[in-house]
């Protein structure tokens, strides 16, 4: 149902509203646990450090990470992907990457390509799914350091076959790096079962936490150079970062309020994830079927009824995406996102690079009534 008069269908950008437990945890981290963790040993600092330990353990457990020290807190998914790619790849290395990545992957790889990293791209089908045969051929063609792929698209909702891609990467001695921004919290993700060597997720999207926090899973055997150096609270006499995780990758004072908020959010998710996945899948299929039935509308990505993340982007034959998004917001209080969604590569593959699209994205709190109101509103705007 509408919250504060808003039907919020922009969960792929950021989840809203946050569970009340998140706000409470943030307030606690700013108050009774307001010390600087990993530094002092007084009660405020210890309370902050214990909050971090609890959050790290909760998030690690949620993702099936056996040792919570391999679950790193970073400022966001984009930071985590930059850290993974720039910390793994050196001039002369080769990376095989899907051709539909978000700019959080495309742009750091462009920098690395200029520096001498070879980047080759896996084609996709019309629905946005990668071609696994092509992926295998590309990885097998030459020694490859990393295979990089999103788990789910923020534009088409296409879910990539990460388990199969992990097998391909590992068969050829490559490391699999996964951008989980649109999958975490919307699909059940067990990084060990998936075979991901590096899995990066945003804290504020499907994981329901606040902005300013992301997580990186680094498999124990994977060596990634840290992107940032600074104080870690330990081994202070050394000129280098401590080798031990998580400290090596978390220089500087950590954002405890964001980490505490994320921990509280993932506690909620851990209880609700099974039902939430079912509910979101039901709603997105209802949404896709309804949108596809509107005259002049083309839904990008997988066909109605096919598996997808809870995202549906559309173009209309005559109503521009920005106009549709504006009308939905101003007349109906429906929040969606128009444009290229920071993913021009995905739009190029879908044939919408010139126009962009309107994206509807579902998350916790969205109801069937919300979806039906949105469908009715799209019908009205597009019929004029």
């Amino acid at each position: 149902m509408p919250h504060d008069g808003i039907i919020y269908l922009d969960h792929a950008a950021t989840s809203w509203p946050k569970p009340p437990e998140v706000l409470e945890a943030i307030a606690y981290a700013l108050g009774p646990a307001g010390g600087n963790p990993n530094r002092s040993a007084h009660r405020l600092a210890l309370a902050a450090a214990r909050l971090m330990l609890e959050s790290r353990s909760t998030v690690a457990s949620f993702f099936g990470v056996p040792d919570a020290r391999d679950l790193l807190f970073v400022p966001g998914c984009t930071f985590g992907l930059n850290m993974a790619l720039k910390g793994l790849l050196e001039p002369g290395d080769r990376a095989v990457v899907s051709s539909v990545e978000h700019n959080a992957v495309v742009r750091p790889l462009a920098v690395l390509e200029k520096a001498g990293v070879e980047v080759v791209r896996i084609p996709t089908d019309r629905s946005g799914r990668i071609d696994l045969d092509a992926a295998e051929a590309l990885v097998a063609a030459r020694p490859t350091k990393a295979v990089v792929c999103q788990h789910a698209s923020n534009v088409t909702g296409a879910i990539q076959p990460i388990g199969d891609l992990a097998d391909i990467a590992h068969d050829h001695g490559a490391i699999l790096v996964v951008d989980g921004a649109q999958a975490a919290g919307h699909l059940k993700v067990d990084v060990t079962a998936l075979g991901a060597d590096v899995y990066v997720a945003s804290g504020h999207k499907g994981l329901l936490g606040p902005q300013g926090i992301g997580v990186v899973y680094l498999a124990p055997v994977i060596e990634v150079r840290e992107l940032v150096q600074g104080g870690s609270g330990g081994d202070s006499g050394s000129l280098t970062m401590p080798a031990a995780r998580p400290d090596r990758y978390e220089a500087g004072t950590p954002p405890v309020p964001a980490i505490a908020g994320l921990g509280a959010a993932v506690e909620v998710l851990s209880r609700e994830i099974d039902a939430l996945v079912v509910q979101e899948q039901r709603l997105v299929q209802r949404l896709v079927a309804g949108l596809a039935a509107i005259d002049g509308v083309r839904v990008l990505g997988p066909a109605p009824g096919e598996e997808r993340a809870p995202v549906a982007s559309i173009v209309h034959a005559s109503v521009e995406p920005d106009r549709l998004a504006y009308e939905l917001d101003s007349r109906y209080g429906i929040a969606v996102r128009a444009g290229l969604h920071c993913a021009p590569a995905a739009h190029a593959a879908a044939g919408t690079l010139e126009t962009g699209a309107v994206r509807f994205s579902i998350g916790r709190g969205v109801t069937e009534a919300d979806v039906d109101l949105a469908l009715e509103a799209v019908r009205e705007v597009c019929s004029k």
Partner: protein
Amino acid sequence: MIERYAVYGFETTHDALSAERALAKAGVPFTTIPTPKSLGELCGIALRVPIAVAPDAEGALEAAGLAWKARAEIDDRTPSGLSR
């Protein structure tokens, strides 16, 4: 009566507080203290246990798969000093 203690230092705060959890779970009495400088360049948090229960503490840490990086024995006459 001079009280003697074993102090355990850890590489990271994560390890130190995981050790704190393990001792609490095992019912071993402990105090969380700032790491004595002479224990080495470690994280800022150490765990102090009465010397009599040090074997219990070490058993609990080993059972939890937690390794301390440094161990020392101190007494309550010189809180900031160590007698090894």
